[in-house]
Symmetry: C2
Subunit: 336 residues, 2 copies
């Protein structure tokens, strides 16, 4: 690879002139410039981003650590981040923590050591608190994505989970449902906790007895499965707080012979791709994952521009998509 030295020699100028025509960082006589441009052409010179980054202490790159690259929602966030980054001339360095705190810590440090200009972090479920604390000391700006920790002084992007759950439950209440099953999952994950809180809120403000509701929390998949399979009694609606939980719940409901929505109503957060092409068509609270990625980059870039402004938390609104899976319920009183 040709370096600036060779270009300079060929163009009969100093390397600093080459650098300046390259970066447009000071005036240079048209005649000289064109000699340089020609030399660049001839040598096939291309700037070495590494050396440049080193000298300027700016890599023009950002890091992104996601907790589960396998989930479509996270894939969409990655997509959004990449898109927004390219638009600003930033390169994306990607790492996946696979919901593993140790791997997360290593990923963060790898990216930091590569001197990314900023870091976007979608925390793992069991994120090491010590990591968070140490990250506050970093001078590399950090934006938390999806999983919001309101007590931490970071810029953050999340969805309005609590509110969306309230809206969903309101809708189901209006349709006559009084007894719910919430498949809540691992409530250490802020996103899932917020959804649970929204549920609790909604139940409380409707004046319903919490004891009439079944909330399945935790990471023990088989326990959740068992609970769903053995489901009996009064529940008329199942709500899944995430796509993996929905997949699991749908399997068990099917296994136990329950039809949706004939026997029981069903709704989920995040949802499945192209799901309106298939039956049952699920009522879904759709996360604006792509836009969340875009927003994270925006926060990061703004932070880079003004390092001392106050941290901001952005909540993007989720879309409540009503479909067949919550249609056609008849409250008990109205049945024949």
């Amino acid at each position: 690879m040709a370096t600036m030295v060779e270009v300079a020699r060929l163009a009969q100028v100093s390397i600093s002139t080459v650098s300046h025509v390259l970066n447009g960082t000071r005036n240079v006589e048209p005649e000289t410039r064109s000699r340089v441009v020609d030399a660049i052409e001839k040598t096939g010179y291309r700037q070495d981003a590494l050396a440049r980054a080193m000298r300027r202490s700016r890599t023009e790159s950002i890091g992104l650590v996601v907790s589960d690259a396998g989930e479509p929602a996270f894939a969409d966030m990655v997509h959004g981040v990449e898109d927004a980054a390219v638009e600003r001339g930033l390169t994306l360095v990607l790492a996946n923590s696979a919901e593993n705190p140790d791997r997360e810590r290593r990923a963060v440090h790898t990216l930091l050591d590569r001197r990314v200009d900023g870091l976007i972090l979608a925390c793992a479920a069991e994120s090491d608190p010590a990591l968070m604390v140490s990250l506050r000391e970093e001078k590399t700006p950090i934006v938390l994505l999806d999983r919001v920790f309101s007590d931490l002084p970071f810029d953050q992007v999340g969805a309005d989970n609590r509110d969306s759950m309230r809206r969903l439950i309101s809708h189901l209440l209006a349709a006559g449902h009084r007894n719910f099953v919430l498949v809540a999952g691992d409530v250490r994950v802020p996103t899932l906790r917020e959804r649970l809180e929204g549920f609790t809120d909604a139940i409380a403000s409707a004046g319903l007895a919490p004891s009439d509701q079944l909330v399945l929390t935790g990471t023990d998949e088989s326990a959740i499965r068992a609970a769903l399979r053995g489901l009996r009694g009064s529940a008329t609606a199942v709500v899944a707080a995430s796509t993996p939980l929905a997949a699991l719940a749908l399997e068990e409901l099917r296994a136990s012979g329950r039809g949706i929505p004939a026997d029981i109503a069903f709704a989920t957060f995040d949802g499945f791709n192209h799901s309106d092409l298939f039956e049952p068509r699920l009522t879904t609270v759709r996360q604006p994952a792509f836009d969340m990625g875009v927003a994270a980059v925006r926060l990061l870039v703004e932070r880079l521009a003004s390092p001392d402004s106050r941290p901001r938390i952005v909540r993007l609104q989720q879309q409540l998509e009503l479909r067949d899976s919550t249609e056609g319920f008849r409250p008990r009183e109205a049945r024949e």
Copy 2:
């Protein structure tokens, strides 16, 4: 950030000793080493990957350019590449060409300028041939992913598209189908072209008249839609060559009131996530996208190790998942 100089001073050694204990690259007296280790601890020193890369001319990173980060299949490939990269201590730099040749070219050059040690490229549909040619001159190893150009001297990873299509059609032939609609899409994309070829092969070896088959090619979505909507006559099975094409076809079949599989059989390549939870359950040729990503990294690393060995093309097998959407067809003769 502390540098080696500060560590050296604190430990009362030269920076070269610090470097050597860091990299284990020569013997150092235990006593000295421990002073250095302590100093590293105290200063919170972390190696600057940029400076290191510059000095060694090795970034320990690889680049990945995908053509459509939005498609789940590509998301899975990204996931596989990331996983395999991390396992080898490599960092992943990601770019998305969004099926845009110009953006693809820029992405490739951006990554190359960042001196990634190797590059994995899932070409866009209209990839600039000039780009390919210029890439052959690069000394950075390049692996082509998913879209295989057998005449190009690159390491490549693809799926056995042609063969899988033959297997799928064989199955449908055995079930009595004689008249197909293939939604083939943009056959400039090697993957789609191979699937089309497999189809042609299968029809030929079954001794069927190509003129009895309807093949829909091209990028004009509304033309394809129209053809599907206006579908009449003898076709008993529709095959979609990719997920986006399947989505489109399913929409149109539904719009024209055709039931699957009651009125017409349906099968698709690549498929939908969690699709076995929903109706109709689609017969699917599943691409091992994650594994393809892993394989690409493997090829790249091996190429790095032996730069002069002959380029290899790896074809991973696809899984034929038979489901309801191709069940229950009765050949005309057998009908009452």
